[in-house]
């Protein structure tokens, strides 16, 4: 029938790998630094083989903190920019995008407010104009705001039926109380109704500034044309934003095991403790360590012990989450309720074993060949290339980073991994959240009322 019926052996976590694994062989890409006549810088991978242009950008630090009582403002703004702008009302704006198959999207996060545009080369000028209008002349009509608000509120309610969401929410709320990282980015059923069109106007005026802008592009455009495009789209923005970056924070809740009882067939497990930020000297060592521990899908230690040897789960995994103002090393998965205690014990034992013994030489070698060799697999589309460039540029890794990445990975030594594992991994300090009806676990706190 159709895709919805497909059942897979594993939905291997490409999203986690994407965070961890950035490597590129020297031959793959020529990255150009383009500076527009107006002084806006971008990186470009020029490629005329496919008539597609992708543009990716982020306003660094924008939307990090929503005003008190207006939680969810930045996220609502990300849904409203294409709901009417310039001469076009919502329906007219959307129709123009659809008629030309232009994809324009915005995304809010605590570390920045991002956007992306993809167009066929032949529709480039219209795509750039619509992007410019969305950024500089959005309408924020009350009708559209009500509609987007209703949609976000519905998505919040829908997510409450997802035990994975419930676990994540509890984890972050416990780890980062009183910090934007701990809040729900989309706001709450109480805060959303208070957001007004004026709030959105204030947000856009204060948060989008050229001093915060990071831009990359890929595809069918020359450096010269990209320079003109940058000025056209972003040149009208204020030179400086008022966006205040959020404060650094270290996670709380260490050593807690929180249970949210739910009548689900499985127990969803989510655990974590402080990790390494992207600029940490041990980033590459941590990347190699995580790959072996639980980042590598089949063959990782967690998958081997919990799934392959014992059949306790369809999938368990670990991953690094580097944010601008904190970092986490996380693990998770789901398991039948009756065996939750056993699965949790095994995961904690693997955590301890890694801290104590590090890697075998074979594991080290295999991790390095995977992490260096798999990178080009991510370059399948124009947009994917622009996105990877944006991540590298935003993380200030340098324009030659993709040529250096193999070297950084291959330089990781056994001593490096051991050092970072000892520094990061301590099962006694894990914050663990369980959603379900687990047997064989002793929570330090139980939060009733899930349903």
């Amino acid at each position: 029938m159709s895709v919805r019926h497909i059942s897979m052996r594993s939905g291997v976590a490409a999203v986690f790998l994407a965070i961890v694994a950035i490597a590129l062989p020297a031959h793959a890409m020529d990255i150009k630094r383009v500076v527009s006549p107006g002084g806006i810088e971008a990186w470009l991978v020029e490629d005329h083989k496919v008539p597609v242009l992708a543009l990716e950008w982020v306003f660094d630090g924008a939307g990090g903190t929503d005003p008190q009582g207006k939680e969810g403002l930045a996220n609502i703004a990300s849904t409203m920019l294409d709901e009417g702008a310039g001469p076009y009302d919502s329906q007219a704006f959307q129709a123009r995008l659809q008629d030309k198959a232009i994809a324009l999207g915005f995304e809010s996060g605590r570390d920045g407010f991002g956007g992306s545009m993809r167009t066929l080369a032949e529709n480039r000028e219209e795509a750039l104009e619509l992007t410019r209008l969305a950024l500089t002349e959005p309408h924020f009509a009350p009708e559209a705001l009500d509609r987007m608000r209703a949609s976000v509120m519905a998505s919040l309610k829908r997510d409450l039926a997802d035990p994975n969401y419930v676990a994540r929410r509890q984890f972050y709320a416990t780890a980062f109380p009183d910090h934007p990282y701990g809040g729900e980015n989309r706001g709450s059923l109480d805060s959303l109704p208070t957001i007004t069109p004026d709030d959105l106007r204030t947000f856009v005026k204060g948060q989008f500034g050229r001093d915060r802008l990071v831009v990359t592009a890929a595809g069918d455009i020359s450096p010269e044309d990209l320079g003109k495009a940058l000025d056209k789209v972003f040149g009208g923005l204020p030179i400086k934003a008022d966006a205040k970056p959020i404060s650094d924070v270290t996670m709380s809740g260490l050593g807690q095991t929180i249970l949210l009882p739910r009548p689900t067939a499985q127990t969803v497990m989510l655990m974590g403790q402080p990790g390494v930020k992207r600029d940490d000297p041990d980033w590459y060592a941590a990347t190699v360590m995580n790959y072996v521990l639980g980042g590598g899908g089949f063959g990782s230690r967690l998958m081997e012990e919990v799934r392959e040897k014992r059949g306790l789960s369809y999938g368990v995994y670990s991953y690094l989450i580097p944010m601008d103002h904190t970092a986490l090393v996380m693990a998770g998965g789901s398991t039948v309720n009756a065996k939750a205690g056993q699965a949790l014990d095994i995961m904690r034992q693997e955590w301890a074993r890694m801290a104590k013994d590090g890697l075998t030489d074979q594991e080290m070698a295999d991790a390095k060949t995977y992490l260096t060799g798999s990178f080009p697999l991510q370059l399948g589309s124009t947009q994917a290339i622009a996105r990877i460039l944006l991540q590298v540029k935003r993380d200030k890794l340098g324009i030659d980073y993709l040529n250096q990445r193999d070297r950084y990975i291959n330089a990781v030594s056994q001593a490096d991994v051991k050092r970072v594992a000892q520094r990061l991994l301590d099962p006694a300090k894990l914050l663990t959240v369980l959603v379900g009806r687990p047997e064989g676990v002793s929570p330090t706190r139980t939060i009733d009322g899930g349903s």
Partner: protein
């Protein structure tokens, strides 16, 4: 920016509203052609040949990056299972990673990974596919490994039975943890009363726990032959380069007779049915109605293409009929959609659904939704709507080749469900030829059937928000 929250690990259809839009029509293309001109044949521009043992080979050259996607599709899926063994096609898919004389259990993916590659597999009603994404210089290695397990799978109880626990956990995770997934399974089981499309691909739990090594071996021996498989390679390779490798590894495996795919057909049904799931976990209710519809393969008179145009008119973004009427104008819903996916060996399905806005009771949303269906049946769509939809579909199809894995997925699924490469390549021409009369005739043929199923996902009585 770094994701603060990891995305869901599994792309399972968690929301009613997402189920069919995910199954979007083929995303084919007319590269660079201005939409004003007549559409021409050509989407992926593949090359194809057949090995002496009957195995079909398809190559989609894409030289942007020195990598390839290598896929083997078997023309067998869950709908070909023997009754009482539901889930065996998917169970075998898992067991294909459990080793041969050359490869130890669990080593397959490990070898791919240490060579910088990624691999996985998936099962549907009509096909089972295995794939590896690797650097082009590892293509021969993965062909050797995939061909080896086509012929030489070795299963032992020690590896089979822990894996059975894994698929049971997979079922719990995918279906049982969330009410939206549970009702989806039950709507399907209600729509198809006799045909195997009513049985979940992953299997019914009481049968999954009774699956055996012998059943898996029997299924493997019956269906996994080169003449029942399709090799699809997309990426930095040409047909001339691939042919000798395909002959060496896959061509060396002897053909065996494969049973005809004979599925039972549905009895004549005239009654409408309703499936209601009330659950404490549901805070956001939803409704959908599902009808059987022609698939590409069953389609006698081009209805499949007309129905795709219909889906675009009714459900293509925020300017679509359903969104404009129910979300923008009447403010009764937060989402509203019509979904149709024609890629199936037997019949396809078409569904219509919506999620109510806050404070809107389901008995107010439902009549408004069905009124849109009635309006469509009564007044039809206009030529102008059809022209706009065609233009948009052809424009977005132009992205089809801007992907490594997408073309291999689309061609593999098409060929495994009875389409030809010519059908796929002619998609733009056929879409471009659809008229309003055809859309209206197809809409009436499907939507005026009375034997539909309506699914309601609701909070417990008295808790309707």
């Amino acid at each position: 920016m770094p994701a603060c929250f990891p995305a869901r690990r599994f792309a399972a259809a968690g929301l009613l509203a997402l189920t069919m839009t995910v199954a979007a029509p083929l995303a084919p293309a007319l590269l660079g052609a201005p939409p004003a001109q007549a559409a021409e044949k050509g989407v992926f521009f593949p090359e194809s040949f057949t090995l002496s043992n009957g195995m079909q080979v398809v190559v989609i050259p894409n030289h942007r990056v020195p990598v390839v996607t290598h896929m083997v599709w078997y023309k067998v899926g869950a709908a070909d299972e023997e009754r009482g063994q539901s889930g065996i096609a998917h169970f075998l898919e898992h067991l294909m990673f459990k080793g041969t004389d050359a490869i130890q259990p669990g080593e397959f993916s490990r070898i791919i990974a240490k060579n910088g590659g990624r691999d996985n597999a998936f099962t549907s009603y009509d096909y089972t596919a295995y794939y590896q994404n690797v650097a082009r210089d590892r293509l021969e290695m993965v062909m050797r490994m995939e061909a080896d397990r086509m012929a030489n799978l070795k299963l032992t109880d020690a590896v089979v039975y822990p894996e059975r626990d894994v698929i049971i956990e997979e079922r719990r995770q995918r279906i049982e943890n969330e009410p939206a997934d549970r009702i989806g399974e039950q709507i399907n089981a209600t729509l198809f009363v006799h045909h195997p499309y009513g049985t979940p691909v992953i299997g019914w739990p009481q049968e999954m726990s009774a699956l055996t090594r012998e059943m898996a071996e029997h299924f493997y021996k019956t269906w996994y032959t080169p003449n029942n498989a399709i090799l699809v390679v997309s990426g930095d390779v040409t047909a001339a380069e691939l042919k000798p490798l395909a002959e060496r590894y896959y061509g060396a495996i002897a053909a065996r007779p494969v049973p005809e795919r004979k599925r039972v057909t549905e009895p004549p049904l005239t009654s409408s049915r309703q499936v209601v799931l009330r659950d404490e976990e549901v805070r956001q209710p939803s409704v959908r109605r599902i009808w059987t519809a022609p698939s590409y393969r069953q389609d006698q008179d081009g209805q499949a293409y007309a129905l795709q145009v219909l889906a675009e008119i009714m459900s293509g973004g925020t300017t679509s009929r359903l969104y404009r009427s129910l979300v923008v104008d009447q403010k009764l819903a937060t989402s509203a959609w019509l979904g149709y996916g024609p890629t199936a060996w037997d019949m396809a399905t078409l569904s219509v659904g919506a999620s109510p806005a806050a404070g809107v009771p389901m008995d107010k949303l439902e009549p408004a939704l069905w009124a849109e269906v009635d309006k469509l049946l009564k007044s039809g769509v206009t030529e102008e709507e059809v022209a706009t939809a065609r233009k948009r579909m052809l424009a977005s199809a132009a992205y089809a080749r801007d992907s490594l894995t997408g073309p291999a997925q689309t061609l593999g699924a098409a060929l495994a469900t009875g389409q030809s490469i010519d059908d796929v390549e002619n998609w733009p021409v056929r879409i471009d030829a659809v008229t309003a009369d055809q859309v209206n005739a197809a809409a009436r043929a499907v939507l005026s059937q009375t034997n539909h199923v309506t699914g309601l996902l609701l909070p417990p009585t008295g808790k309707d928000s």
